[in-house]
């Protein structure tokens, strides 16, 4: 079966009048064959066959995340994700043991702002085992969760918080930035990991309510990618997932009309903008860092796609704006990054630079802002846009070699899920890539001017603690 086929559809070029000199346009786009169906109980099923290796990925997305957490329960969606591995009624506490014995790889779950996913890749002969395991926790989790397992996973999550943020360089700064971008009252406040206080407050009744509200087949999409027989897979999915009780559908992201013109599509992407802020955090680091962030429109909106290209223009490779200006020319930074965390509602665009030993953090901050302002005011060049889009195409092609990505939101299974989640159908890969290919430098310029201005900019500077001094409290930090 053809898995990745080059098509003769629109090219991935930068400008209408051809590529700029020195940057040759990529020749082709990619397609992934996929079939989508919906069970009577509301479970969506996406099937993508590829028999080149005897393995199959099972990847389930639930349309729930921190955005759905009750007040005072930050981190709960993520804590719940951990509990999904703690056993279910008919499986017992042997989920990981059975999968590892079968030769499963990439077994994990992740929690993002508006979705939680679970996935594993198994040898083809163990497809039924995987479906049995996933269906049992979708239908019968509460029979196995108890106070002891909740207590253990609560401690594990608090250790995850320590390892990833409290005891990691720039981790506290990141949480500070996020809480300034998403202030108190915003569902993303305290991040997907949550505050220590809220994680400690989670109770078994919370688990019960959350499961009943969100872990229903009608709020989930199951994707199979890899080596399986479609008819048999459908029969097995019907056997294991069909009897599970669905419920009234919950609201789901509406696709942008510019990509998917259908009833219910969105033309407007309002965001909750924070006031401008500049905060200072002291950490146990030797190099200063400056991070700047803005709230930006939803995933796959025109602005989101344009900003995705902008991240590559800013910080991907030695030719990028921030690398050239801050690392190569001024030598005030040792590394630079720019990235976009896109969600169904409020996304976050971030750029940051780590300074040099003994360097002036003030100069680092000034130059970072100068380059960001310059790009916003002048816009990118045609060469920059073409180069960035070429990189995005190659990295997408490379990623799509994988049956599934390590976070379950990339590779073929993860990409189909992402497209289905945000655009309503896995068939929009071409739509998305074609749109990306047509983004112009003027469109990026307009987007930058609209969303990356100083009036809603949040900045966090990280300064090293002096050795052997009592650490001062973070100034202005939201925590």
């Amino acid at each position: 079966m053809l898995v990745l086929g080059f098509t003769a559809r629109s090219g991935f070029v930068g400008a209408q009048d051809g590529p700029p000199p020195g940057v040759r346009p990529p020749a082709a786009l990619v397609s992934i064959s996929a079939e989508k169906l919906t069970l009577p109980n509301g479970l969506e099923v996406i099937l993508h066959q590829d028999k080149s290796l005897p393995r199959v990925t099972i990847n389930i997305w639930y349309r729930v995340g921190p955005v759905n957490q009750p007040e005072g329960r930050s981190g709960f969606a993520h804590l719940f994700e951990h509990l999904m591995f703690e056993g279910s009624k008919h499986v017992g506490h042997q989920f990981d043991h059975l999968l590892e014995a079968a030769g499963a790889t990439n077994v994990n779950g992740t929690t993002s702002w508006d979705r939680t996913n679970f996935f594993e890749t198994v040898p083809s002969e163990y497809l039924e085992l995987g479906l049995w395991l996933e269906s049992d926790r979708m239908g019968f989790l509460l029979d196995a969760v108890n106070q002891e397992r909740l207590d253990v996973q609560r401690q594990v999550v608090l250790n995850e918080r320590r390892q990833s943020y409290e005891n990691a360089p720039y981790g506290a700064s990141y949480l500070t930035l996020m809480n300034a971008v998403f202030p108190v009252g915003h569902p993303f406040h305290d991040g997907a990991i949550g505050s220590e206080r809220d994680v400690k407050r989670a109770t078994l009744p919370d688990v019960d309510q959350f499961f009943k509200a969100f872990y229903s087949p009608s709020n989930a999409t199951l994707t199979l990618a890899g080596d399986f027989d479609a008819q048999r897979a459908k029969a097995l999915i019907g056997r294991y997932f069909g009897p599970l009780q669905g419920q009234a559908p919950l609201p789901r992201p509406s696709p942008p009309c510019s990509l998917v013109e259908e009833p219910g599509c969105r033309k407007d992407f309002p965001v909750r903008l924070p006031p401008p802020q500049a905060l200072t955090v002291r950490e146990s680091v030797s190099l200063p860092q400056v991070a700047v962030a803005w709230v930006t429109p939803a995933a796959f909106s025109d602005a989101d796609l344009a900003l995705d290209v902008a991240t590559a223009i800013l910080a991907d490779g030695k030719t990028s704006r921030l690398y050239r200006a801050l690392v190569t020319e001024a030598r005030v930074a040792s590394s630079v990054t720019a990235w976009l965390d896109s969600t169904a509602t409020d996304s976050m665009f971030q750029a940051s630079a780590v300074g040099t030993a003994g360097g002036d953090p003030g100069k680092l901050e000034k130059l970072l802002q100068r380059e960001l302002d310059r790009l916003r005011k002048e816009g990118p060049t045609e060469v920059e846009v073409a180069r960035a889009k070429h990189k995005l195409l190659l990295s997408t092609l490379s990623d799509l070699q994988n049956l599934n990505g390590s976070g379950g939101d990339s590779g073929r299974a993860g990409t189909l899920q992402r497209l289905n989640h945000y655009l309503g159908s896995p068939a929009h890969l071409q739509t998305w890539l074609t749109r990306m290919g047509n983004i112009s430098s003027s469109e990026i310029h307009t987007t930058l001017q609209k969303y990356l201005g100083p009036e809603h900019r949040v900045l966090v500077r990280t300064l090293p603690n002096a050795p052997n001094q009592t650490p001062p409290a973070a100034k202005g930090a939201a925590q």
Binding site: L4, V23, T105, T110, W132, H390, L394, S398, N465, N468
Partner: protein, 507 residues
């Protein structure tokens, strides 16, 4: 996300922290259903208690790459696939001769300089040329060698090979650029030393392997500042030679065209003169268990790194050691992680890997635990390792845990075939460790064939309890009393091996 380890065969990437090992084999899961209460109401879904039986077992097959050797000694490993992107890499096997005691980090800094301009594409021209192909160089120096990798569209094979050859053979090594890159490199190393987990592994390897082999691959910041562009040129001249190198190409290409293009771009690489094999440094003898403690005041967690010497990659018994360590600490359900995470909740994850290089090996265990449980966690890790190695252990390895490790190793090898980058990484190993072309199939078969008794014997042969190196980065005032109570001498670490003062600012 739950803590997981990556499974990769890419052991060239033996940097500051060990890369973890691979994988293996299929055994049916236990067919016993979970126990249920007989007094519970009848469950209409009781049919779900039956664990599905697997279908017809897939046959596992591993493709054999092609090996060609150019006249100048360069080895070309290639494997055509239908993938829509190409993975290409040049590997330089540099052994220990350029990781001398007085110049740790020189090999890595030399590799970093390769991508800063060539004689044909000086400075930024090189970046513009490679990025115009939508790609960039990835440079990875480990304890056994350096790998320069790129991805490319199949149509760009010629251009990609040309640029890869340029950076390997004709780097510009401009003095002005070197000053900037060295400063940046030093800051990048300093940045990595901010991470308590990296620090604990550096301290642990220094103690385990001694000054020469135990020095961090990326070097020490203060020492790196004294390296000159002459050091870089000398290093490049000594080892960037076709007889020390392999070229790996995986993806959609025409074999005849590839051969011609490789000859065109790499055929002119000058042949090296034979040089004597370097003498290997002597590893320090393992004595009693040591605890090394670096104070990081106010740390909410302690980063713990525990290491034990094992034989090098090429020593007899490699598959047994790989299986042993994977069963012990390579999986989520391994006894190490089950104990420290799932039972005691001390940590987000605890894993052990077999770091297998050409000149040494190590069982390397890493975890971060809540500060108040530091001594408890160390005690449990020591107990787990001891129980593995004692001839009269009360908890010998059992078939279920070993079979999970077999399945993981073998099926991870199969999964490597799903991406050209992972296949290329496996080809790197063939060259670095002088492995046969059918290595993947051979390793999979060997792992599946190891009897449980032989593995238990290997555990007692390779693991000697009471010879552990334990490095901890954490809040010394809080954790020292508990560590002392364990009965081990606690050595305070003030400086890294080369006199470097690590970052110990309070939290």
């Amino acid at each position: 996300m739950r803590a997981r380890i990556a499974t990769t065969l890419s052991a060239v990437a033996l940097l500051l922290a060990p890369s973890c090992a691979p994988v293996k084999s299929a055994k049916s899961p236990s067919q016993k259903p979970p126990s249920t209460s007989t007094s519970a109401p009848k469950d209409p879904a009781a049919w779900r208690l039956e664990i599905p039986t697997p279908g017809i077992k897939s046959s596992l097959s591993f493709p054999t790459p092609r090996l060609q050797t150019l006249e100048n000694g360069l080895r070309l490993y290639s494997l055509p696939t239908q993938a829509s992107t190409l993975s290409l890499s040049v590997v330089i096997r540099h052994d220990v001769q350029i990781l001398p005691n007085d110049k740790p980090g020189l090999a890595a800094l030399t590799a970093r300089m390769l991508t800063e301009g060539t004689t044909l594409h000086p400075d930024l021209k090189l970046a513009e040329a490679i990025e115009a192909l939508g790609t960039d160089f990835a440079v990875d120096t480990g304890r056994d060698g350096t790998t320069l990798s790129i991805e490319a569209l199949p149509a760009d094979l010629d251009a990609a090979l040309a640029l890869l050859a340029e950076v390997a053979i004709k780097p510009a090594f401009s003095g002005k650029t070197f000053d900037r890159v060295r400063a940046q490199w030093v800051d990048n190393v300093r940045e990595s030393l901010q991470d308590p987990r990296s620090l604990s592994s550096i301290i642990g390897f220094e103690a385990l392997l001694g000054k020469g082999l135990g020095a961090p691959v990326h070097g020490y910041p203060e020492a790196l500042l004294h390296y000159t562009v002459k050091d870089i040129v000398r290093c490049h001249s000594a080892v960037y030679l076709p007889g020390n190198a392999s070229l790996n190409v995986v993806g959609d290409f025409d074999p005849t065209t590839l051969t011609k293009l490789v000859q065109k771009h790499f055929g002119g690489w000058r042949k090296q003169a034979d040089s004597p094999r370097p003498l290997l440094p002597t590893l320090p003898a393992a004595t009693g268990t040591r605890v090394l403690l670096l104070d990081r005041p106010g740390s909410p967690q302690s980063a713990i790194f525990v290491a034990h010497q094992l034989p090098a990659r090429g020593a007899p018994g490699y598959p047994e050691r790989e299986l042993l360590v994977t069963a012990f600490g390579g999986l989520f359900t391994s006894r190490l992680n089950q104990n420290l995470r799932e039972n005691k909740a001390y940590t987000y994850g605890a894993f052990g890997n077999y770091l297998a290089t050409r000149h040494f090996g190590a069982l390397a265990i890493s975890t971060s635990v809540e500060t108040k449980f530091t001594a408890d966690a160390v005690r449990e890790i020591v107990r787990e390792v001891s129980d593995l190695g004692l001839p009269t252990t009360p908890r010998p390895l059992v078939s279920d845990e070993v079979d999970r490790a077999r399945a993981d190793i073998v099926h991870s090898l199969v999964e490597h075939l799903g991406h050209t980058n992972r296949i290329a990484a496996d080809l790197v190993q063939l060259f670095v460790h002088d492995l046969p072309l059918d290595q993947l199939a051979k390793l999979a078969a060997e792992i599946q064939a190891i009897p449980l008794d032989a593995l238990r014997h290997a555990a007692t042969e390779f693991i000697t309890p009471k010879t552990l190196t334990i490095a901890i980065v954490g809040d010394a005032a809080s954790i020292r009393p508990g560590l002392k109570a364990l009965g081990y001498p606690v050595e305070d670490v003030q400086k890294l091996g080369d006199g470097e003062s690590p970052q110990t600012a309070p939290m």
